[in-house]
Amino acid sequence: MASGNEGQKIEADRLAPMPLSERKGFPVLLTLRLIAFFATASATIVMALNKERKALVVATIGSTPVEATLSAKFQDTPAFVFFVVANAMASLHNLLMMALETFGDSFDCKGMRLIVIAILDMMTVVLASGADGAAVFMADLGKNGNTHARWNKICDKFETYCDQGGGALIASSVGLLLLLLITALSIMRLLKPNPKPIPHNNNLVTIP
């Protein structure tokens, strides 16, 4: 019957966010996603362009120094490659979620929209945290070395490389904190759907 159909439609609506025309107040989630997008995108770009060439004296034959050009690139360390890829994926995810929130009201997600957004946010935050942790500890290894394992530090020779990498790490940490906040807000939005008023269908009541 028509009333049963209406009941199902109301339940599906309870899990959908409010349409854009009815939203009031400051769009907190959208602003956070925008800042997180810029943070992760800048971390990706700064680390991907991280490269330094330096001519170093490696040996001395007689009285002439032998110079070799050594280069430090981000691809040398697998942790930094993972960092670039994971931050690129996080910024793409933020971009897609922003587009979905502003333009995706006409998509019929059958009530799954908030659940899918929350789960995708969780996966992105886990990925970004893994990348950030690995890159931070590899950068610490490069900066301080490890005397027990006899690994020399490389930051005294490649200072620009280290500084640029450090900047990318800071941007990624900011992006990670914002992603955590966004995920928490998405989960709260999922578990507390905005109550829509049940529409009162006067034209279904037939008075004999």
């Binding site: 690994w151 020399n152 578990l191």
Partner: protein
Amino acid sequence: MSKMKWVFSLVLRILALGATVSAAIVMGTSREKASFLSLSFEAKFSDIPSFKYFVIVEAVASLYCFLVMFLPARSSLWRFTIISDLIFTMLLTSSIAAALAVAQVGKYGNSHAGWLPICGQVPRYCDHVSGALGAGFAAVVIFLAILLSAIYSFLNPRLI
């Protein structure tokens, strides 16, 4: 939370407790003495800051699991555990990723930076650490399952 969901979440949390405790203990007890070119050195987990971070995070996560198991089924704090589960999943992932990154350098070295692999001199230490990393990875997967099941268990009553 209903009884069935509480029991299911309890089973998952016991598994997570086992995984995190074993990861922390196995990593904490890894040490090996080796002599290399008439120098004797000892490889411990505390030599590498990444492994120390791993042990600390696993220990804190196991303590969290242990405390949450005692939460009564009808308490109103169960909503808050979703957020704290998320934070601990994030911490565990970053610790396992950091430990794996440094362990990879230890096993294969890094020719660009001039870092030699150390697993040739201390093979049993390397195997011990690999075991701990495997347990840490299992802990991450179980924590993700806990998070998803917590969201599922809070979603269903609202659909009535």
